[in-house]
């Protein structure tokens, strides 16, 4: 039943529309492989357009493309089309599962065609086979012109590789030609997917230039794009896996990485031709792999939703073991139905996990809900398309795109995860910097407090020690001196002891003392001096300004008290005076005390100095200690004047 390569056949021109190509390019662009794709995809688009625009003007078309929709087919493993067995006419595309269920070939297809004037015009003719599974050989007029690879098990996997076969002009006879195609493949029951079951698509015969561009375009879609996506997934998955593995709190990253890597491996079936294992083993491994991918996907979604359950952690690995086991029990001959059942189950699991994830996301973070919802629904739609394609045995462009879309969505999810991880890292970094700052502040504060406390403690300890020394002096030295005061027969000794006691008390007060208000000090001094002089029967005249704001250091107070006491004692004991005046003035920051009496004055010693027995030297030394001075003016019969001058500010400072 010969077909004629005539102009009337132009109506079977492939109705290719470029819209899906644009969509595909947009998706691939996201992966960064756009330049490569564009380089390959753009010219064919142009050519395709040229072909269709050329259609209305037949004079310019050299040779039209012929689409072959039917073929004579017969089963046989010989070197030529089997003529002995039954042959039947089948429509193309031909699925063995439909036309010869259970058969696993090889199957021969015979297509006669007319080649009118091909040689004269010098056209290069070609045969384009968009889809053949699993492998083919092409004979033109009985001559082998093309082989896709091994025709014996393990077969070369050409299911996803479009075939372009050049038809040598020398073999083309004018008039009727016979094209025989031998297809080796597997029955549907032996493979996990309808796409890998034995089949042959419609054939196109036409100018090589036209068909080559279609072949190139289809190769990009079927081979290059999955390869690029697989490589991307492999890289990203590995990266994610390592990231999640290192950081156990982000285990969802590890599961996502495993999912990506697993998907990349499974996707390799699309472009890997030569497998070192036989078909049943390869199909078995592929199906088993899906169990692990499902585990990774479900766990990723659950962990990403920050939820985990012990039973799920146990059930999923169990399923991974159960699935291959059931495949083994069913045997290679019943692989497809068992695998289909598992696919449905796995898809349901993933969808349930996705729904669970989205529900939690909606509750906790509605902000990032829509992004993930969008990505997941695209994956779901792709899965649904795949499912329908499996059921109906369709090989549409949409189902091919759906195959690519899923990994692209994975890449997008991965980018989202990287973004989240990076942001979390940044937050953690900021938090850490903040914490460090806080720790530094706290440390400084602690150090400061510690310093203060230790200073305070030193003060406390010093104060306690002072008090202890004071108490000891009183109890021990004080008691002994007191005993001497009151038990000594010698008036001189008891006086000395009394004075020693007074000195001791002053010293103790100097040890424990705080600054003394000058007004208070004047009160103390006045009371002591005036009452002592009054008891001795000496008139005392005390003049001092009132309400003085200045203070004296404890030492200045003690030393001045001693000087004053000494001077008073001198007046009482030695002067024989009847009158005395004490005058206190504050001038230019100096404290001045003038003590004057009308007594006999201090007698000169042999060397012309004033008598040291009157304690003048110690008075002067004490004044000098306080950065002040003590001047004594005296002469026999003229009384005595003692001028004590202390710088007030320094007297305060000298503590």
């Amino acid at each position: 039943m010969p077909l004629h390569l005539t102009r009337a056949a132009a109506g079977t021109f492939s109705p290719r529309q470029p819209w899906w190509l644009a969509a595909c390019c947009a998706l691939l662009m996201l992966l960064g492989v756009a330049p490569a794709v564009l380089a390959q995809a753009a010219p064919p688009t142009a050519t395709s357009t040229a072909t269709s625009t050329a259609k209305p003007d037949p004079a310019q078309v050299a040779t039209p493309t012929l689409r072959v929709n039917t073929a004579l087919s017969a089963e046989g493993d010989g070197a030529t089309f089997p003529t002995t067995g039954p042959a039947l006419i089948v429509p193309l595309p031909d699925d063995w599962a439909r036309t010869r269920p259970g058969s696993d070939g090889p199957v021969w297809y015979r297509v006669p065609f007319q080649a009118v004037g091909v040689r004269e015009r010098g056209d290069l003719l070609a045969l384009y086979v968009e889809h053949v599974c699993t492998n083919l050989e092409v004979y033109l007029n009985g001559q082998l012109v093309h082989s896709g690879g091994r025709m014996q098990s393990p077969l070369t996997h050409n299911c996803n590789h479009p075939q372009l076969v050049g038809l040598p002009a020398v073999l083309i006879a004018p008039g009727l030609n016979t094209l025989d195609i031998k297809v080796a493949g597997h029955a549907l029951a032996e493979v996990g997917s309808r796409q890998r079951a034995g089949s042959l698509s419609a054939l196109d015969i036409g100018p090589q230039s036209v068909l080559a561009s279609r072949h190139a375009r289809q190769t990009v879609l079927n081979i290059a794009a999955p390869q690029a996506v697989s490589a991307t997934l492999l890289l990203m998955g590995g990266f994610m896996f390592v990231l999640g593995f290192i950081n156990r709190r982000e285990s969802h990253l590890a599961y996502f990485g495993a999912l990506c890597v697993g998907w990349a491996i499974v996707d390799a079936r699309l472009w890997l031709r030569e497998l070192p294992v036989s078909n049943p083993v390869a199909e078995f491994l592929l199906c088993a792999m899906l169990g692990f991918i499902t585990l990774a996907a479900v766990q990723f979604l659950l962990r990403y939703a920050q939820w985990r359950h012990r039973w799920i952690d146990i059930a999923l690995p169990l399923q991974c073991a159960l699935m291959p086991l059931s495949l083994v029990i069913a045997g290679p001959a019943r692989l497809y139905p068992v695998a289909s059942f598992w696919y449905a189950l796995l898809a349901l699991e993933v969808m349930a996990a996705a729904a669970f994830y989205l529900r939690r996301q909606w509750r906790t973070r509605p902000g990032s809900f829509w992004l993930m919802a969008g990505l997941l629904s695209v994956v779901t739609v792709a899965g649904a398309i795949e499912f329908v394609a499996q059921k109906l045995g369709l090989r549409s462009v949409i189902s091919q795109i759906a195959q690519i879309v899923t990994p692209v969505m994975f890449v997008l999810v991965g980018l989202r995860l990287v973004q989240q991880h990076g942001r979390a890292l940044q937050q953690a970094e900021l938090g850490r910097a903040h914490l460090e700052e806080r720790v530094r502040e706290a440390t400084e504060e602690i150090e400061r407090n510690f310093l203060q406390m230790s200073e305070l403690r030193v003060e406390q300890v010093t104060e306690r020690e002072r008090k202890r020394i004071a108490a000891d002096l009183h109890d021990d030295l004080g008691a002994k001196l007191l005993t001497i005061v009151h038990t000594s027969d010698s008036e001189r000794i008891s006086t000395l002891a009394r004075e020693a006691l007074e000195e001791m008390r002053l010293s103790v007060r100097g040890l424990t003392g705080k600054p003394v208000k000058l007004a208070d000090a004047l009160g103390d001094w006045r009371a002591e001096v005036v009452s002592r002089l009054a008891q001795a029967g000496i008139d005392a005249d005390w003049e001092a300004p009132e309400d003085l704001p200045q203070t004296l250091s404890a030492r200045a107070y003690v030393q001045t008290t001693r000087i004053l006491r000494e001077a008073t004692s001198n007046i009482i004991k030695h002067s024989g005076a009847s009158q005395s005046t004490m005058r206190v003035t504050i001038a230019e920051g100096d404290f001045q005390l003038v003590i004057q009496d009308n007594g006999e004055g201090i007698p000169l010693e042999l060397d012309g100095r004033l008598d040291r027995g009157h304690g003048m030297a110690s008075m002067k030394a004490r004044a000098k200690q306080l950065q002040g001075q003590c001047l004594v003016e005296s002469g026999p019969g003229y009384g005595t004047v003692i001028r004590l001058t202390l710088p007030l500010n320094r007297a305060i400072e000298v503590a």
Binding site: A479, H486, R498, R505, D520, D524, V530, Q535
Partner: protein, 214 residues
């Protein structure tokens, strides 16, 4: 006839004090003790007119004996006899009810005179003690202390205190205020008494407060 308690731990000083007290108060009955424990037993057994109490004793502070005397024999006069002349040691004793103080190392004649004055109701008061008493009463006058039982000084008493604080002697103050020496002494006595009453009221209030919290 006087009953006198003498609490002093140094034997020589105790002997010396006893001789002195006998001289000032001829025929007085003197009960001696070297420890607080013994003194408290004597206080519960004998009714005293005068008690000379040392502050620093081996088994505690003489302030406890002053307090006990004040509680059980309010008419007895406690006089602190001490080596400490600073108000940090003296003020608690005065608050507890001591009626003046005598510095031990003073000359015999001086102590004799002071003892006589005390027995006549003229207790000594130094400028630093006067300042401390003033500070005590002015702190009490603050509004937040309104729950305190109100014991305050009269203007005269405050005037006397102020002058003592400035270093004037009691006779001088008498001259300045145109009052007799005895009147001034009465003011001083009154000041001591109020100090004690106020302190006791405070202590009672504090005890009540603690009781409420218990």
């Amino acid at each position: 006839m006087k009953n006198i308690l003498l609490l002093e731990d140094l034997p020589e000083i105790r002997v010396w004090l006893r001789k002195l007290v006998q001289q000032v108060f001829p025929g007085a009955l003197i009960s001696e003790s070297a420890r607080i424990h013994d003194a408290l037993e004597l206080v519960s057994a004998i009714k005293f007119d005068l008690a000379l109490i040392d502050l620093g004793l081996p088994d505690g502070s003489g302030v406890d004996v002053v307090t006990r005397l004040r509680d059980v024999q309010p008419e007895a006069q406690s006089v602190v006899v001490t080596i400490h002349d600073d108000d940090e040691h003296l003020f608690p004793a005065l608050q507890a009810g001591a009626f003046g103080y005598i510095l031990k190392e003073q000359a015999r004649e001086l102590i004799t005179e002071q003892l006589q004055r005390i027995s006549q109701g003229e207790p000594p008061l130094s400028p630093s003690i006067a300042r401390r008493v003033m500070a005590y009463f002015s702190a009490k006058a603050k509004p937040q202390a309104s729950t305190m039982p109100h014991v305050s000084l009269t203007d005269r008493e405050s005037e006397v205190l102020l002058r003592v604080a400035k270093g004037y002697t009691l006779p001088e103050i008498g001259v300045q205020l145109g009052l007799s020496r005895h009147t001034i002494a009465d003011y001083v006595k009154q000041i001591y008494r109020k100090l004690n009453v106020s302190s006791r009221a405070e202590a009672a209030l504090e005890a009540q407060r603690l009781g409420l919290f218990r």
